[in-house]
């Protein structure tokens, strides 16, 4: 017979790494593209551009690495006990854990990729401002990665906190809990795609402005933090609903 728990585990691992990795790859390609364009404009700034490019790509990779970690935990973490073969809610929770981090890291990758791409373009335009741009870029990218951390928390809770159902639980209860676990993953995963991309748009524009007018950097940073805080509220709503569903 088909071991449905294995189907769920394999599908979860594949979707987590595939979706998460594709977004990270696309975002890193954008950074490299902008860096190459800037290098064509200012070949003398190659040292500063290389530093900004490498730091930006490394931070953007975070989401892909988290997706890989969850994928490996699903495959080799020793999570599925023999009892869970007839446990619908536990089976669904593995797929949900993979989807949560896979889709949830997409937005962060796009956002921090846009931030680093704008930073590379800015360094290419004004290489003398590269220190200010690169240090503020790390702050901006860290802000975009909060959504990945939310998704990682939900994903790890789905992997390790969901109990094996008691033997006498009815199918009705199990179906309802499957919906709740899949819902917790979907809430945080879909909710953070737009939020983290939006945060990345704000921080990216801030980097562009800091590269152009470094003397007003403190004004831009203040505006950036206010804007990011308001955008982030949507991710908090999703996180709250995900927690409510997990502990239903």
């Amino acid at each position: 017979m088909i071991e449905f728990v294995n189907v769920s585990v394999f599908l979860g691992a594949a979707l987590s790494c595939g979706v998460g990795g594709s977004a990270a790859g696309l975002a890193e390609g954008t950074i490299g593209m902008n860096a190459m364009q800037a290098l064509g404009r200012q070949p003398k700034a190659n040292a500063q551009l290389l530093r900004t490019l490498l730091i930006g790509v490394a931070v953007t990779e975070t989401g892909g690495i988290f997706a890989l970690v969850i994928g490996l935990l699903l495959l080799f973490g020793g999570l599925n006990s023999p009892d869970s073969a007839y446990d619908l809610a536990r089976t669904v929770s593995f797929l949900a854990a993979g989807l949560a981090i896979g889709l949830g890291s997409m937005g962060s990758s796009f956002g921090s990729g846009y931030t680093a791409a704008e930073s590379c373009a800015g360094v290419g335009r004004t290489p003398s401002h590269s220190n200010a741009v690169t240090s503020n870029m790390i702050v901006g990218q860290a802000l975009t990665q909060t959504s990945t951390i939310f998704s990682l928390i939900i994903s790890l809770l789905l992997l390790y906190l969901v109990p094996d159902m008691a033997e006498n639980q009815s199918w009705g209860y199990q179906i309802a809990m499957s919906g709740a676990y899949l819902g917790a993953a979907m809430s945080i995963a879909l909710g953070t795609i737009g939020v983290a991309t939006g945060v990345g748009f704000v921080t990216g524009k801030a980097m562009r402005m800091i590269a152009r007018f470094r003397e007003n950097a403190s004004t831009f940073l203040r505006q950036m933090f206010v804007g990011v805080a308001v955008v982030e509220t949507c991710a908090i709503y999703s996180l709250v609903v995900a927690f409510l569903l997990l502990f239903k």
Partner: protein
């Protein structure tokens, strides 16, 4: 679980509740997706305008917050619907 007679009422009840949970989450997720992106555009363009007129930062922050507050209402609608689906069914 296998030997017993199947209780169709309980299964229907479970499907209803599961659909409500999934619906609440997917609704909030899709709404949050668009709202976050929209608010990001507002704040990003405010940043560009701030670069042009840095001395008017108070005006810029105020207008940005008004624009984002209006966008945020959509996320709050979804949150209300999600909480209703979670607790009122």
């Amino acid at each position: 679980m296998e030997g017993n007679a199947v209780d169709y009422t309980a299964i229907a009840n479970g499907i209803t509740h599961g659909a409500a949970y999934l619906g609440a989450a997917v609704g909030l997720g899709i709404a949050g997706c668009g709202v976050g992106l929209g608010e990001g555009f507002v704040a990003g363009k405010a940043m560009e305008s701030l670069g042009k007129i840095p001395e008017q930062s108070g005006l810029m922050t105020r207008s940005m917050l008004v624009g984002m507050a209006v966008v945020e209402t959509c996320a709050i609608y979804s949150l209300v619907i999600a909480l209703l689906l979670l607790f009122a069914i």
